[in-house]
């Protein structure tokens, strides 16, 4: 019998709710020598971790459920929430099975958290993972290959086994397949958003932060089949892209509220790592060079990446709107998030130049009050309809 979307999403919800990461603990315990490597948003080369016999585990903060007690003692009120809930996860031993932590180069908060981790959890290997802001193969590429090589060595040490080229190639294959399925889910939702509600797609993608890639790909396939087969009521919602939520995640209720207020989310930047490389990474030749080339020439755009061409600035959002046939953009950013909030005015200017309507609000991962957001999104949905049907 085929699995229903409800069953798949129930599994995803259970993974999402489990702040003890039982799945990852069990995965590690099942075979001696396995390692788990935690990473913070938004991008790390998961292929290398996989090739080292590791499980890449996305650490995306504590969400609504986690009561942050100790973590607050490490951060001033004007710093976003994700680092404090991540510290809370650490000091409450919820991450005690994690062998290494990676802190991607996204902002100064995560950057400094990498050093805090070294001090607070000295037995865990932790690494600030730098990526180039120069996209020439002989400049940024050379730097990045060397960074990837250092990471490869660290992972080999952690797992006690060599990370071979063949293993990396095989991992690239698995992640190519996974990314293709992720893209398919996004495309499916953009075509028939009533058949793939955003909260479901969100939970599916969150599952990809925890599950082994093979298992996640299976899940995506099952979901696509089940969602296509199920009839669901189609509403007269407006179609929107949500942007700015690439790091600290919005509460699930916020995503639900946007949809309930009359907006179908047809594209978003939650968990960009799932769709980072925008087409297949080559499996021919040197696999590390291929990962580097994919980063330089074929990866998603976001605030933390420099855009060398002023004419191109912000067009990634316009493209997302066109690709998903969206009618408007919702800027949803974590409070105090420098990268998202500094990028916002530039993106808004570009949207305005393309006559794309937008609204903006801020959230925290534990925001409880959804009423204002529902009202704002509802008014936005109505106004979009008014504009499009004058």
């Amino acid at each position: 019998m085929n699995t229903s979307t409800a069953e798949i999403i129930a599994r995803c919800q259970a993974l999402f709710d489990d702040l003890n990461f039982s799945y990852a603990r069990e995965w590690k315990a099942a075979v001696p020598g396995r390692i788990v490597v935690g990473f913070m948003p938004f991008y790390v080369p998961r292929e290398l971790i996989h090739a080292a016999g590791g499980l890449p585990l996305g650490v995306l903060g504590g969400g609504e459920q986690l009561e942050v007690i100790q973590g607050d003692a490490y951060y001033q009120s004007y710093i976003c929430r994700i680092p404090r809930s991540t510290i809370e996860l650490g000091v409450t031993n919820r991450l005690d099975f994690v062998d290494a932590m990676l802190f991607p180069s996204i902002c100064d908060v995560i950057r400094n958290l990498s050093g805090m981790w070294k001090i607070m959890f000295p037995k865990v290997r932790s690494r600030y993972f730098d990526v180039p802001q120069n996209y020439r193969d002989d400049v940024g590429g050379a730097f990045y290959i060397s960074e990837l090589t250092e990471l490869r060595e660290m992972l080999a040490e952690a797992s006690g086994r060599a990370v071979t080229d063949a293993a990396i190639r095989a991992s690239i294959g698995l992640y190519n397949e996974n990314r293709a399925l992720v893209r398919e889910v996004y495309a499916f939702r953009a075509r028939q958003p009533w058949k793939a509600p955003s909260a479901e797609v969100y939970l599916l993608m969150r599952a990809g932060m925890i599950l082994a890639v093979e298992e996640h790909s299976r899940m995506l396939r099952e979901y696509l089949a089940a969602a296509a087969a199920e009839e669901r009521p189609r509403r007269d919602n407006s179609r929107v892209v949500v942007t700015g939520a690439f790091c600290e995640q919005p509460p699930l209720n916020l995503i639900k509220s946007i949809e309930l207020s009359g907006c179908y989310i047809v594209d978003d930047d939650f968990m960009l790592v799932n769709r980072w490389e925008q087409s297949d990474v080559s499996q021919e030749g040197d696999p590390v060079a291929n990962l580097a080339a994919a980063y330089l020439h074929n990866s998603a755009n976001t605030s933390a990446k420099y855009e060398p061409d002023v004419e191109q600035k912000g067009l990634y959002l316009v493209d997302a709107v066109k690709r998903s046939r969206a009618e408007g953009v919702i800027f949803a950013s974590p409070s105090f998030c420098d990268p998202a909030l500094l990028e916002r005015p530039m993106l808004q200017r570009v949207l305005a130049a393309h006559d794309i309507p937008f609204i903006a609000f801020k959230y925290a991962e534990n925001s409880g009050q959804m009423q204002p957001i529902r009202e704002q999104a509802g008014t936005f949905a109505d106004s979009i309809k008014l504009w499009s049907n004058p």
Binding site: A73, Y74, S105, G115, S335
Partner: protein, 435 residues
């Protein structure tokens, strides 16, 4: 960076010299178009002043404009202007002070119109906001941008890969762009000469900073320190003027030291040194003098500060080196204070606490600046734990007057000084050093 208001009170010859240098640079900026000079806008940490000079270009530093406007209490209005135009209340106020100033006609701190830059030379070391700041400026000016990405010292060290990457960017991207925009061909010997002058100034500068090891300290290494870093952190490193400035400054401080004098304050010499502090974090600029007063009135002298290391850690041995010009620029950019990881920052502060025989650590946590502030509560804990000395934590902002609360800060400082007294009366610090 330079406190011209205070300079009006204390007119040592080094100060007069610096004042002249700063206003001279603003004058040059104002007449740049008429003089046919090209202008590069660039940042303080990791600036490439010696290189820019090789192309006869002028140097305009948005952070310095924000500071100068902050001291003149103009930034509150500029920040509101930027917020009115859609910039979030949550982001760095230097950026908003700059964008607000531009929106209101780009009139510089000295009342004259600043030129549009010919090049945004983005070398962002130690802070991600710089990258966004220049993207925002580029959006406005639509001028050329040269990007120098300086990797972060995540593991607390500078690797050969990092240096090679920065040098490659200098050779492949930055220098060709500077050549094209200025029309001047790059001459590496000219760069070497500039670097040699920098190194000479750096020697004297370090001597000045280290004079604070003496009791009483002849300098205040934070409030006074922000004057001392002026030339070397900004548009003057590598010039004859800067070398001369540090020579003068050193001689003045040597004299104070000989006479057993304490630091100069806006109201004259500091009579007695009661507390020796290390300070982490930038100062507040909009109430700079009130803030300083809260210290000198209590006899508190800052003997070492981290803010005076954002534009280079010369006191830890780094010198610009004419023998390896591009590598040395790379090392400089990589080594600035906020480009060091948090454990290295803590180690450095601990070292300052010992080397300068400080009574405690004070953290001025700046709302604007995640680069400095994220993690400072752990810095405080670690320093207290390692040294057994008391610490204090206050919060303010750089140039947003809404976030400077004098009564709160004064209260906090007063109870802190009492704590230091009690600790002393109780027979010292009993440092419970970690193994």
């Amino acid at each position: 960076m330079t406190v011209t208001q205070a300079a009006e009170v204390v007119k040592d010859s080094s100060m007069l010299k610096q004042k002249e240098m700063i206003s001279g640079n603003y004058r040059k900026l104002e007449t740049a178009a008429a003089d046919g000079r090209k202008v590069a806008a660039t940042f303080v940490p990791g600036n490439l002043n010696e290189l820019i000079m090789c192309f006869d270009m002028l140097n305009n530093l948005p952070e310095i404009n924000a500071i100068q406007n902050g001291l003149r209490k103009k930034t509150g209005g500029y920040i509101m202007e930027a917020e009115k135009r859609g910039h979030s209340e949550d982001v760095c106020t230097y950026v908003k002070a700059d964008l607000g100033m531009i929106a209101k006609g780009n009139i510089g701190p000295d009342g004259q119109k600043l030129p549009n830059p010919d090049l945004l030379l983005l070398s962002y070391t130690g802070c991600f906001t710089f990258m966004k700041w220049f993207e925002l400026l580029r959006d406005h000016y639509r001028c050329e941008t040269a990007m120098l990405h300086v990797p972060y010292q995540g593991d607390g060290k500078i690797s050969a890969n990092m240096i090679a990457y920065v040098v490659r960017q200098l050779k492949e991207e930055v220098i060709p762009k500077l050549e094209r925009i200025s029309g001047v061909k790059f001459d590496i010997d000219r760069l070497r000469e500039n670097l040699a002058r920098s190194a000479r100034a750096e020697e004297d500068f370090v001597w000045v900073l280290e004079s604070a090891k003496k009791k009483p300290s002849p300098i205040d290494a934070y409030f006074g320190g922000v004057y001392y870093i002026g030339p070397i952190f900004t548009a003057f490193r590598g010039t004859e003027d800067a070398t001369e400035y540090y020579r003068l400054l050193r001689a003045e401080i040597a004299e104070r030291m000989e006479r057993g004098q304490g630091p100069v304050t806006p109201t004259g010499d500091m009579p007695s040194e009661r507390y020796r502090l290390v300070v982490e974090g930038p100062p507040n600029w909009t109430s700079f003098r009130d803030f300083w007063k809260m210290f000198y009135e209590e006899g508190a002298v800052v003997v070492a500060s981290t803010y005076t290391k954002v534009g280079g850690l010369y006191d830890q041995g780094f010198r610009h080196d004419p023998a390896k010009p591009l590598e040395s620029l790379a090392e400089y950019c990589l080594g600035c204070y906020t480009n060091r990881n948090l454990p290295s920052r803590i180690d450095l502060i601990e070292k300052y606490m010992e080397d300068y025989q400080a009574d405690g650590i004070l953290i001025n946590s700046i709302k604007s600046c995640n680069s400095f502030s994220a993690g400072q509560l752990l810095v405080l804990r670690e320093i207290e734990r390692r040294t057994g000395k008391p610490g204090a934590f206050i919060e303010s902002d750089l140039v947003d007057p809404r976030y400077f609360s004098p009564a709160n800060i004064k209260n906090r400082l007063e109870s802190y000084f009492q704590m230091v007294d009690q600790r002393r009366a109780g027979g010292g610090s009993a440092p419970a050093r970690a193994a």
